[in-house]
């Protein structure tokens, strides 16, 4: 995945995507299908690889590292496993095969976000409202573009009319799928943020080794070193948290919501700290449109607020830890 993306999705490609109408490349999407990445979580019976979240977060980290504009996380990491769990829905099952082949883009819509990403190219929107889940075709929605500070992100305000035929789950099943959507998407954000944070750190380190002031590389100044070291600490301690959350989702562990919220908070903190630090280390050149640093800084800031800002995830953890039940804990159970 890393070598594929470093060729197919370098900074030149990312910048070029800002200029095109859709901002997306069919060729790149086909490449992701060919790699098996799109079908990673599609069951083998539907032409996928039948792998799980523990594998998926590794690919998502690479997406963050490459600042991939395509809705890979939305389709492959969120929609695919949700559709797979809709056993009785023939349409959902047939979409799965299309996802694996690269011929269907599905984007999730959840009340936690005011906007939906990639509705302009999505073949389907998997929508959670209250305790209902709807599967909407492109012609059942109207989407109004909301320009994002991250020029890669295509966000839309969605308008749709509920139709009897579009509802694929309700009641208890709908509520649990809604939670599942949020957990999967927040986990996907966290995993991407690890890649974003790593890339920003790498760029800052490379620049600090090359840029000279006062006759030496700025990276030899302790004030610069220590800021970068602090970022390295945060990234190091966010990664196993994301891995644990992935494992909890994969095994449907009771504490998965808490584990995911923790991962979302930790990885977003690492990425936003990396963004701030990388900019400071670059000085004025980092504050320009010209320099590629902005690609990852803006991604870090955008992802930080999507699928629940930290406040939302803190509240979920607080509810679990302070709600009277025993606090979920790794190893050291209470």
């Amino acid at each position: 995945m890393r070598s594929f993306l470093s060729k197919q999705c370098d900074a030149v490609y990312v910048r070029k995507s800002w200029e095109t109408e859709s901002g997306r490349s069919q060729q790149l999407w086909a490449g992701l299908a060919e790699l098996g990445a799109l079908g990673l979580q599609v069951p083998e019976t539907r032409g996928g690889l039948g792998m799980n979240e523990v594998d998926m977060v590794l690919l998502l980290e690479e997406c963050g590292r490459a600042a991939l504009p395509e809705p890979f996380a939305e389709t492959a990491a969120v929609a695919a496993p949700l559709l797979a769990s809709l056993n009785d829905c023939a349409e959902a099952q047939s979409i799965l095969s299309a996802i694996a082949q690269g011929s269907a883009i599905v984007t999730p819509s959840h009340e936690i976000n005011p906007f939906v990403s990639d509705a302009h190219i999505a073949d389907f929107v998997l929508l959670s409202r209250g305790d209902e889940i709807h599967l909407l075709k492109r012609d059942q929605i109207e989407a109004e573009l909301q320009e994002s500070s991250d020029p890669c992100r295509k966000l839309f305000k969605l308008r749709w009319t509920p139709a009897v035929g579009s509802r694929v789950a309700a009641g208890q099943q709908g509520r649990s799928l809604s939670d599942d959507m949020l957990n999967r998407a927040a986990l996907a954000v966290a995993a991407q943020q690890l890649g974003v944070a790593t890339r920003l750190t790498d760029m800052a380190v490379a620049y600090a080794c090359e840029r000279e002031q006062f006759g030496k590389a700025i990276g030899s100044f302790q004030a610069v070193k220590h800021q970068l070291a602090n970022v390295a600490v945060r990234v190091e301690f966010a990664r196993p948290v994301v891995a644990r959350a992935a494992f909890c989702v994969a095994t449907e562990a009771a504490e998965r919501s808490v584990a995911v919220s923790h991962a979302k908070i930790a990885a977003c903190e690492a990425a936003t700290a990396a963004a701030k630090t990388a900019l400071q280390v670059h000085g004025a050149i980092g504050y320009t449109w010209e320099v590629d640093l902005q690609i990852w800084m803006k991604r870090a800031w955008a992802l930080d607020k999507t699928w629940g800002a930290s406040r939302v995830h803190q509240a979920r953890i607080a509810a679990a830890l302070l709600g009277g039940e025993a606090a979920p804990s790794f190893g050291f159970s209470v």
């Binding site: 080794c209 610069v224 070193k225 070291a229 302070l322 790794f330 190893g331 050291f332």
Partner: protein, 355 residues
Amino acid sequence: MDTADGFEAHRRWEQTLNEGRWAMVPWPRKYGGRGANLIEWLIFEEEYFRAGAPGRVNQNGIFLLGPTLMDFGTEEQKARYLPPMASSREVWAQGWSEPNAGSDMAAIRASARKQGGSYIINGQKTWCSRAAFADWLFGIFRTDPDSQRHRGLTFILVPLNAKGITVRPIAQLDGETGFAEVFFDDVEVPLANRLGEENQGWKVAMATAGFERGLMLRSPARFQATAKRLLELYKRHAAEVDDSVRNAVLKAWMDAEAYCLNTYKTASQLIAGGSIGAESSLNKIFWSELDVHMHETALSILDARAEILPTAPEAGDVDGWLGGFLFSMAGPIYAGTNEIQRNVIAERLLGLPRA
């Protein structure tokens, strides 16, 4: 632990532990352990802290020197030193720092001159934890008088009752005798007390430092136990404090979990044959900052009672938070200051140029 009576009580507890082979479970059976792997050791630690069992008086021995002996000791040395270490019949102090060699440990001046079958040691060590009551000291001494910096140093084991040694206790922030200065005046120890090669002491010491910053010294259960106590403290006082305190409590819980997860990751890597290098510096910063954060948060919950000692009549549930807070403030200093760790991370992990 930092009074003579308390020290002896801890020593007796260690003996009890050792009788059940619980003192150092990862060690081989012949040295008093159970041959447990690192994951099993972490599980032991979880149970130990869950039970609220006493602090380990011989931690310099069992957690730092012990693993170093396993790597660098001869068979005779292991057989000689490990069993009494496991039972705490011999409690160890660490003698690295000197008045003029703190962060700059390579500036060590205390010397060990070879004479016949012995080293003759002169000079001074300081800040040696628990040396006021300990039996032995491991330290690094300059064996090559013409050497500079980290060359020419040798790792030597010194009995603290040897002739020519003066131990001067130093009271710590809490007023207790937590560490001591040690003066060496023509102290004679056999050459056999050398650990590793002569003039290779730096290398041996760095391995010990790796254990100290990395896995052994601060097992995750210690912080998870504190996080759990903090959660309980918060629940009792939730109505009196605002949301910023709640968020600080959540952060404490999350970071203690993250530390645990990362430790399991490291332990798995070690079991798979990997090694820890400069990564241990990431660890040291994380646990020391976590410990400070948890205690600061506890004090902010206790509010005006935060300054009250547990012995005060109105102490209520102040417990050991204040004492824990004071000790947490030492965390960013000992085992190599956090500034030094940041230098290590920047230069060795990130590859930034040396100053």
